[in-house]
Symmetry: C2
Subunit: 219 residues, 2 copies
């Protein structure tokens, strides 16, 4: 199939990219710069796509920042440290982010006459993000099937896998984990303390796979 992949340069979407290539699909990667603090991930995405010889198109959506007030990922609100939990991480919700990303990916898929848009939703997605709910994904599936005369499908190949399983699948595929980026702080190295860094470390530990990430905070 010909697919558009919503691709951030993070752990999950990088494993998904390798997984889809291994299945023989033609992939076009879409990255979005929406003014996220951790736009460092886009540089990782670029490096990985170059290595694989896959198209990576980054769209500059920073003009929409004035519409997205109040998220610590895009505003000057300070980013919470420590484990993911509702109280701690609510500020990282970017209003309607998934619908915006998917609408652009679907538009590109329609232009390319691609069959589907794939993205790395997984079983561990946090219930604090309303647009990670399965009912939301179902509504978007339906909208994507109707928005163009050539229906676009939405694929979530990792929806039944947790992050541990994703790391294992990545190891099988020889994914260069050291090139991927997770940290929400967006420094030179992974901070090791924010919610996504903790999850990343934890996923490698539980998968029994050696973690090549250099963390600023060693534990």
């Amino acid at each position: 199939m010909k697919l558009v992949l919503v691709y951030s340069g993070g752990l999950d979407s990088t494993v998904l990219l390798h997984h889809l290539l291994a299945e023989g699909h033609e992939i076009h990667c879409l990255g979005i710069d929406y003014g996220q603090r951790h736009r460092r991930e886009l540089v990782s995405g670029q490096a990985i796509c170059e290595r694989l010889g896959v198209e990576y198109r980054v769209v500059d959506l920073t003009a929409i920042r004035p519409l997205l007030k109040g998220s610590s990922l895009t505003d000057s609100v300070s980013l919470p440290e420590g484990a993911y939990n509702i109280e701690n991480m609510k500020s990282t919700v970017v209003p309607n982010r998934n619908m915006i990303l998917l609408s652009l990916a679907i538009a590109w898929a329609a232009s390319l006459r691609a069959d589907a848009v794939a993205y790395a939703a997984h079983a561990g997605d946090h219930p604090l993000y309303p647009d990670c709910r399965p009912e939301f994904a179902q509504a978007m599936d339906r909208a994507a099937a109707l928005c163009d005369w050539n229906p676009v499908r939405l694929l979530r190949p990792f929806i039944d896998m947790g992050k541990r399983d994703i790391v294992r699948r990545g190891a099988e595929l020889g994914v260069p984990f050291e090139l991927t980026w997770s940290c929400y702080q967006g420094g030179q190295r992974h901070c090791g303390r924010c919610g996504t860094c903790r999850e990343r470390r934890d996923a490698f530990a539980r998968a029994g796979i050696s973690d090549p990430t250099e963390y600023q905070s060693p534990d």
Copy 2:
């Protein structure tokens, strides 16, 4: 209610703006510059909102043009003249335009804690635009209700009205029709020949309302 209105500066959305203000709602207007040939409409929108003292925020989405290949509204493909019909106007379809516009309006509504997004879909919307189908609107309604913890409603107050009825409603409300912009060509005056100009003229004629538009081509 507090509402975000998808607002182009065109005839339909300008009548809707006046209609919603007359109903007593607080309105925040969103215009999108997606590189449309007729971005002249955004200037009209600005002038009308200033006159009404309503916020009009235009977001520059021209960065997404590389994703939207093949539409005569955004590309260098020449624009068809003459009446709307499938063969003639297929080139004016912008891939997934409505989902993109709605996703941004919904994001802004969620940020503002607004109740709903309104847009000027109407009974005369052309069946050649797949994302004007009612099933598509229903899927988007559902997605909007789920994308945030505070559900956002989608309102289409004119969905049962044709363009003739919209002109009549506008006349009742004292809408300054001469400030609105419809023409897809985006010149200094309405061309009078493209599909939207023909529809505009026809709507005034059928409504029995004098048309204040200066057309380049008098008939």
